[in-house]
């Protein structure tokens, strides 16, 4: 883990209050979600907003976890760890970051989908989400491909970045921003 990266997140987004780097398991995700619940309770966050924070956090963490698991099964050489960071700034905007290593093949699959999501309006996202949920009937995929729509629907904005690690591998960094204060 690069400490400079963490530092730049602190500079940009303020306080980091939850960070984990390594192998993700379901028990860890549940424990961290519990910590987020305490945070929401302490700062008296609106229930709808905090549900969005929990869902996005779970979705991103389980993505990283499931991706590692598949890769461990299929090819031993990919390191299966990920990085999850939750931070907030002075205006009480929350940021959920996830980072893991993915293959070039998967980058080419994910990137156009993410770009399409970013270019869509909230209404279009909701429509697409429901279409995908409907059309995915009988599919036994882990999330039916609607995970990033779920995240985008509940975020105020999303960002992503791929950084080349070697010819075939990339760091995939994803950021979701959630506002907790309504603008006047």
């Amino acid at each position: 883990m690069n400490v400079d990266n963490i530092q730049s997140i602190v500079d940009e987004d303020g306080i980091i209050f939850l960070t984990y780097g390594g192998f993700l398991t379901q028990t860890l995700i549940a424990g961290m979600t519990e910590a987020l619940e305490k945070e929401a309770e302490y700062y008296d966050l609106n229930m709808g907003v905090s549900s969005n924070i929990f869902t996005i956090f779970i979705e991103l963490s389980q993505n990283v976890m499931n991706y590692s698991k598949n890769k461990i099964e299929n090819c031993k050489e990919v390191k299966s760890e990920g990085l999850i960071v939750v931070s907030k700034d002075k205006d009480m905007n929350y940021f959920i970051h996830s980072q893991n290593i993915i293959t070039k093949f998967d980058r080419e699959k994910i990137e156009p989908k993410l770009q399409e999501i970013i270019d869509s309006s909230k209404d279009d996202l909701k429509k697409k989400y429901r279409e995908l949920r409907r059309s995915g009937k009988d599919s036994h995929g882990k999330g039916g491909g609607i995970g990033f729509y779920e995240i985008a629907k509940r975020s105020d904005s999303i960002k992503y970045e791929f950084k080349e690690l070697n010819d075939d591998k990339y760091y995939f960094h994803f950021i979701s921003k959630i506002k907790t204060q309504k603008e006047d």
Partner: protein, 125 residues
């Protein structure tokens, strides 16, 4: 046919499926590691129940605080099954949400719109 009870965990809801009363209660959070495996017995129970074991009226109560996208997918499949059973069975669905939890309300509204033929009540508490 037996009743089915699954205890609540940190990431799965409490589940109570009762043949004699004709009730289904799913209450809590839902983000299992493998959603379709986790809910398999529930889907199986519902199929068996509606296949000759159903009461005159069946009431399903869902009170799910938050859930991951694969649970959302699973719930969709579950409602789909209910829609198939609707013609021969009297089915009532309560989607229960905390009045302050807009996200849970919105999820309920989406299901109501997607399953217009089902009798889904949005119940604020």
């Amino acid at each position: 046919m037996e009743n089915l009870t699954i205890e609540e965990t940190k990431y799965t809801p409490s589940i109570n499926l009762n043949v004699e009363r004709g009730t289904v209660d799913i209450i809590g959070k839902s983000y299992p590691e493998n959603t379709f495996e986790f809910y398999e017995p529930v889907m199986q129970w519902l199929e068996d129940y509606f296949n000759g074991n159903a009461q005159k009226k069946t009431v399903l109560n869902f009170e799910i605080i938050y859930f991951n996208s694969s649970s959302s997918k699973l719930l969709f499949d579950l409602f789909d099954l209910l829609e198939e059973m609707r013609e021969e069975n009297l089915i009532e669905i309560n989607w229960i949400y905390d009045s302050e939890n807009e996200s849970a309300l919105e999820a309920g509204e989406d299901f109501k719109e997607d399953f217009e033929d089902l009798n889904i009540h949005l119940v604020s508490k």
